[in-house]
Symmetry: C2
Subunit: 212 residues, 2 copies
């Protein structure tokens, strides 16, 4: 063929990224099982055996997606967290970065959470990331508490952190479903819910069940 090879030959590194882009897109739309390797290949502008040659089996491909998107997210958050700031400022910056990421990489978020959470083989991978996040939040709260001269049981701390992370993920889902919503404003709202409650706890205010 002298004239125009319908599509160019590209170096491996480039194609791999295209494949990952396509995979993230298809996985997020269809879900892991409903997604077909053929569709992913087609969407990447390539044929199926290339996908297998570069990224391996379907599971390995999904893990690769998980890894790329997860790393992106963690970097976005880590880049915003200066460890010597006061707790509320750190929380605020972390949340802003997080919602910024979700707003920018909607599909990535969907893959990471909506899909990976349910599927057994990947739930573990996810849980690890999540646990690390929860530990960070718990550590932050603990730090702030000690600065106030107060203290709290480790289990209580973990549960509070769990709740905060859960609320944040929930709002992330909401953000992903509302394309016209503003990530920064969402972060502010989350801060309102999270910090006002947390600040109360920091000052020793607690709620007790009524004795009925």
């Amino acid at each position: 063929m002298s004239s125009a090879p319908a599509f160019k030959r590209l170096p491996r590194a480039v194609r791999e990224q295209q494949m990952l882009d396509a995979a993230v897109k298809v996985f997020s739309r269809r879900g892991f099982h409903a997604a077909g390797m053929d569709e992913i290949a087609e969407d990447a502008g390539i044929s199926k055996p290339m996908v297998y040659a570069y990224l391996g089996t379907k599971e390995e491909l999904f893990v690769a997606c998980l890894h790329r998107e997860g790393t992106r997210m963690m970097q976005a958050i880590a880049g915003a967290a200066a460890p010597d700031l006061p707790a509320d400022e750190r929380l605020w910056r972390g949340l802003r970065a997080f919602f910024g990421f979700v707003g920018a990489y909607r599909d990535g978020w969907a893959v990471l959470y909506r899909q990976a959470r349910g599927e057994q083989p990947f739930a573990g991978e996810l849980a690890t990331m999540r646990t690390r996040l929860i530990e960070v939040v718990a550590g932050m709260l603990d730090h702030a508490l000690r600065a106030e001269g107060r203290e709290i049981a480790a289990l209580d701390l973990e549960v509070v952190a769990y709740a905060l992370v859960g609320a944040t993920e929930s709002l992330a889902d909401w953000l992903a479903d509302h394309p016209d919503a503003d990530p920064e404003k969402t972060a502010t709202r989350m801060m309102n819910v999270a910090w006002l409650g947390a600040a109360q706890l920091l000052h020793g205010v607690t709620w007790c069940p009524p004795s009925d």
Copy 2:
């Protein structure tokens, strides 16, 4: 066969419940796709065609599970909510009932949320239930707000409710993973996080982003 028919013939209503029990169990352990109709049938002590005869295809079976467990949950919550109580009391009773349900029907919860959330065909079904819950919470907050003479934008209200429901679901997951944890105590912890923050909002205290 005169002696002993290895297993008895049972009326349809009974068998259907046994099948649903088995289905909920298998779905929650393996996940929707990894679960096999053969395994569900075996676990119910019956053969596969019976499952198809009574409950229909795999998807229909899953929907039936979703429906039964969802109804159980909603009833558990509704039974505890007296609409003329003050907001904090209503919230407390609702949460206690909810965590009680999750503690009692661990598999049911796993089916409802861990599985149904990811799978496209069922996500809608779930979202409806979830939305109803969120509306209830939002309505409760709005009611309490107006009683205080304050008011808040509908969108803000929705987002706060979203966050609270998300935090609650997250703690439910935590409870499902910690068999030895006490549902009532978990509800109290959730109340601490949710109500202290919400109460602040009710009194007009808000958090504003620093101008950096």
